[in-house]
Assembly symmetry: C2
Homo-oligomer: 185 residues x 2
């Protein structure tokens, strides 16, 4: 039996926004008090919008994936479709929009597959993974100027090989893909 966890909330004693970089990132500096009464003078919270990503599978069982250069790590990476939830969008709407924009695929049946935190220590946001089955090519790719994306359509065996070789480095993508292979027989 798994114990339910008491939420041992820290009390915020002081909170100040110290950096605001457009819609990309804000940094909040806080003084917090633990349930023990001990205070931590400086704790930083990175404020991001929520994110989505998509495991997209075509009617004939192929996985719609991509590669993209990721500048902070300095590597071109295999990934699943991912993006930011825009203001006013539901997570599902954002996921369907990103799949369409980045790959030209759409349609099919969608379910929420996994909810993750990029890092609950310092990120305030969540990332929602959708599993989209029976998607089809319904249009053209529409990349933003800052995107440099190649679309790949892989068999299930190829996706597993990419995972086994450690070629999915982004944790928010590796987690749902490994969950898929652990749960979908």
């Amino acid at each position: 039996m798994i114990p339910l966890l008491e939420n041992r909330k820290w009390r915020v004693v002081k909170s100040e926004n110290i950096l605001h970089l457009g819609e990309w990132l804000s940094v909040r500096q806080e003084t917090v008090e633990l349930p023990s009464g001990r205070q931590i003078p400086t704790w930083f919270v990175l404020e991001f919008p929520d994110w989505i990503n998509v495991i997209a599978i075509t009617k004939d069982g192929k996985f719609v994936m991509e590669d993209q250069y990721r500048h902070a790590l300095g590597q071109t990476c295999y990934e699943i479709v991912a993006g930011v939830i825009d203001k006013g969008e539901t997570p599902l709407q954002a996921a369907q929009r990103e799949l369409s924009e980045e790959t030209g695929y759409g349609g099919g049946t969608w379910e929420l597959f996994m909810t993750l935190s990029p890092n609950p220590t310092n990120h305030n946001n969540l990332s929602y993974t959708f599993l989209a089955r029976d998607v089809e090519k319904i249009g053209e790719q529409h990349q933003e100027a800052t995107e440099d994306i190649n679309v790949h359509v892989f068999t299930r065996e190829e996706v597993r090989e990419i995972l086994d070789r450690g070629m999915i480095v982004q944790a928010l993508h590796a987690a749902p893909l490994w969950k898929f292979f652990a749960t979908e027989k």
Copy 2:
């Protein structure tokens, strides 16, 4: 056959450190040029030290895990042992130190199980997961003042139930645990 990816490096036109918060985080603001020749005037890179975490299994097949309050998300979360690689440490040394400090467990045989990026778009660091088998209780837990950790020793079936119920929210922990259940029969 999985295509090898050409590394489509972006050229750094300008780079400036705009925030330095001790050893916790630095933010670098850059102007970059894509292979297309198009420039992106502002790109932010979060500079962190590398991290480790540990899937630790005792001689009798139990998993050494913990729960901890995570302030940015505002939730108490089930997790595996995790921490920062200190200067001068190898990833393995850091992993063994963190397991000992946070839980009092040690010994056993260790292997590097997975290497992940927290987010290759904006993080410059990596997180190394070790799989430690046959660990034993060899001492006491030594928490830092900012830590509020409870240790749990779960059966394999309990860990799987925690995963199935979505109770591992940290992507860097969910990915190696799901990989474990996909690959270790």
